[in-house]
């Protein structure tokens, strides 16, 4: 093994994704603990600039596969590219962000390498482990920590023998590392063989994406609306958010209904947020949404259904019609007693 931790970096419009940078930062901590070098894997076309950027963001080395055929993400060719790099570089640990892409790319890579992988980690750490069965001690291995049973139970998982140890890590948990233009490192370009057959198996016909403008991640207070709100409800929410000096968030249902743009979406296919206060209004509390706000310090829920799952993860709540509760709440908060 080559004493490296590699982070697979996703790019968005020519820049490294924030979540990949966060992961790079975290990997740096792990690398220090384990005495490893820290690097990145980058796949795409015309990505040298991104590679340089990653060095400023903390990577000692960046392994790139630059090929016109890899211009946009495709699961199988990307899998092949990454697997080849891993076989050549032989890292101890490879980490991916648990994005939609990461959650399908990483397991395919792991399966092809016949190695172990843990999904959706909320924390990763370096530690020792003794196998109770054999008594054998494994030093400085990756502890992969994640919630199970829908979040009720935490599990710690290790991959004692196979290499690399792999994990996907939930975005939005760690800070973006500081940028330092004086950092140096090396960029290694790899030519890999991408089987012709793999390239034609999947063809992208259409992509519709909206670019994120609002950044909910830095908001200390988020007032979020769901299916129960309607366009009118969101007007009320905006007012409440203003009174609380917060941002407006939304569930996927609200965004899909067109009441608020995608960049306000919180949840599995939206953003993961950890504000001090999260007010969930007219949101039922389905897992796909909760996953994106579970770690909020305080959760306040307003919903007219007393059985709504959101109440199970709320610190405070009011069962009632949001169109009655929210205006009164706004009035009450304005009086500042």
């Amino acid at each position: 093994m080559s004493k490296k931790i590699l982070v697979y970096v996703e790019t968005l419009e020519g820049l490294p994704a924030d979540h990949s940078l966060e992961l790079l930062g975290k990997a740096g901590d792990l690398a220090n603990k384990a005495g490893l070098n820290i690097g990145a894997i980058l796949v795409g076309h015309k990505i040298r600039d991104v590679a340089e950027e990653l060095i400023y963001m903390g990577a000692d080395e960046v392994h790139i596969v630059d090929d016109p055929r890899l211009d946009s993400y495709k699961l199988l060719p990307y899998t092949s590219a990454i697997v080849e790099v891993i076989k050549k570089v032989e890292p101890e640990i490879v980490l991916f962000s648990a994005t939609v892409i990461g959650r399908e790319l990483a397991p395919r890579v792991a399966a092809r390498l016949r190695t172990g992988i843990t999904a959706d980690c909320t924390d990763v750490d370096i530690g020792d482990w003794v196998d109770p069965g054999t008594g054998r001690k494994y030093e400085k291995i990756l502890y992969q920590i994640r919630p199970t049973f829908g979040g009720e139970i935490m599990a710690a998982i290790v991959t004692p023998q196979r290499r690399p140890q792999m994990a996907t890590v939930r975005p939005g948990l760690f800070p973006v590392p500081p940028r330092n233009e004086s950092r140096t490192g090396k960029v290694v370009e790899w030519n890999v063989n991408i089987p012709e057959s793999e390239q034609s198996l999947v063809e992208v016909l259409e992509v519709k994406r909206e670019k994120r403008k609002v950044d909910l991640k830095s908001a200390r207070v988020i007032v979020s609306g769901g299916r129960g709100c309607g366009a009118r409800g969101f007007e009320l929410l905006r007012e409440l958010a203003k009174v609380l000096n917060g941002e407006v968030g939304a569930s996927r249902a609200a965004v899909d209904s067109g009441w608020i743009p995608y960049d306000h979406q919180v949840g599995l296919t939206g953003q993961t947020v950890k504000p001090d206060v999260y007010v969930a209004i007219g949101i039922s509390g389905a897992v796909q949404h909760v996953v994106g706000m579970k770690d909020s310090k305080i959760v306040i829920a307003i919903n007219k259904d007393p059985e709504a799952p959101i109440f199970r993860i709320a610190d405070y709540g009011i069962v009632g019609d949001l169109f009655v509760v929210v205006p009164k709440l706004i009035e009450r908060l304005k009086t500042r007693t």
């Binding site: 699961l75 199988l76 899998t79 994005t99 939609v100 892409i101 959650r103 399908e104 397991p107 395919r108 399966a111 190695t115 172990g116 992988i117 999904a119 196998d131 502890y143 992969q144 994640r146 919630p147 199970t148 049973f149 829908g150 009720e152 139970i153 935490m154 599990a155 710690a156 998982i157 290790v158 196979r162 999947v202 063809e203 992208v204 016909l205 992509v207 519709k208 994406r209 994120r212 200390r220 609380l244 000096n245 917060g246 296919t269 206060v277 007393p306 109440f311 993860i313 709320a314 610190d315 405070y316 709540g317 009011i318 069962v319 009632g320 009655v324 509760v325 009164k328 709440l329 500042r336």
Partner: protein, 274 residues
């Protein structure tokens, strides 16, 4: 869609009823006894999708689960919904399998079904399970079978001879993709509403036979499954300490409820920044 029949294998996982409270035994392991097993709710979207395709195009839908023998009852739900057959892959040597080992075993079951049906066009599954939430089975089964996989499929738009057109979700939107068949699709819960079977269908499902296959029946290499075949090990499980305060106010007088909310927030020292 073209009117060609499709043969579909749908992967389902019997899980502990997500609504039940998780209990620990004194030794720290999870007490799975006496709790009802049900089909992973996420898989039901995949089951619904497969039945809708069958209704439109014809063909056969076979459900496959890898689980201990008593899980057989949970699978009847899937039969009642309209799946033609269900097979349970069960063997003590499979116990303790992680996703790599599980996906290997399931891929062999799919291959055996392919032998029996002649062809399998699609393998469907849910995006994740309610107990492990990894989402790995779809892509890993695809890898073992050497076929494409697409996760987070919102809707299967078209099926033609040799390929499918699907709409899949990505952060911030969706993409429409053309996928060569056979392929593995993990189906999200955004477009398919799992049907509640009628009582007649429920009772008929109770009387149907469910095949149980052991490791030898599918030609499993025992060194690739179970604890011995699983590269990952769970070393510790613990209940999350974060206890939500759960102070929910149900007063029908909203002003009263709001006052209570404000005073409780104050009492707990929570500042709303106002």
């Amino acid at each position: 869609m073209s009117a060609i029949p499709v043969n579909i294998v749908v992967l389902v996982k019997p899980v502990v009823d997500p609504k039940a409270v998780v209990r620990f035994r004194p030794d720290g392991t999870i007490d799975r006894s006496a709790v009802k097993l049900v089909v992973n709710p996420y898989d039901k979207y995949a089951v619904e999708a497969s039945i809708q395709l069958k209704e439109k195009l014809g063909g056969k839908v076979v459900g496959v689960a890898m689980a201990p023998p008593h899980a057989v009852d949970a699978l009847r739900e899937v039969l009642a919904m309209g799946v033609d057959e269900v097979v349970l892959l069960s063997d003590p040597r499979l116990a303790g399998s992680d996703t790599l080992a599980t996906s290997y075993a399931l891929s062999l079951a799919v291959k055996k079904i392919e032998q029996e049906l002649g062809i399998v066009d699609l393998v469907l599954c849910g995006i994740e399970s309610s107990d492990s939430n990894t989402g790995h089975i779809g892509p890993e089964v695809g890898e073992w079978l050497g076929i494409p996989s697409v996760s987070y499929v919102d809707k299967i738009l078209e099926i033609h001879d040799g390929y499918a057109v699907v709409k899949r979700l990505i952060e911030g939107g969706y993409s429409v993709m053309k996928v060569k068949l056979p392929a593995v699709l993990s189906v999200a819960g955004t477009s398919y509403q799992p049907r509640i079977p009628s009582l007649r269908e429920v009772l008929a499902a109770r009387r149907k036979h469910i095949d149980v296959w052991n490791a030898d029946a599918v030609g499993l290499d025992p060194s690739l499954v179970g604890l011995v075949g699983s590269p990952t090990r769970v070393v510790r499980m613990w209940r999350i300490e974060i206890r939500r305060r759960g102070k929910i106010f149900t007063d029908s007088d909203v002003d009263v409820a709001i006052e209570k909310l404000i005073s409780e927030l104050k009492k707990d020292g929570v500042s709303l920044g106002v």
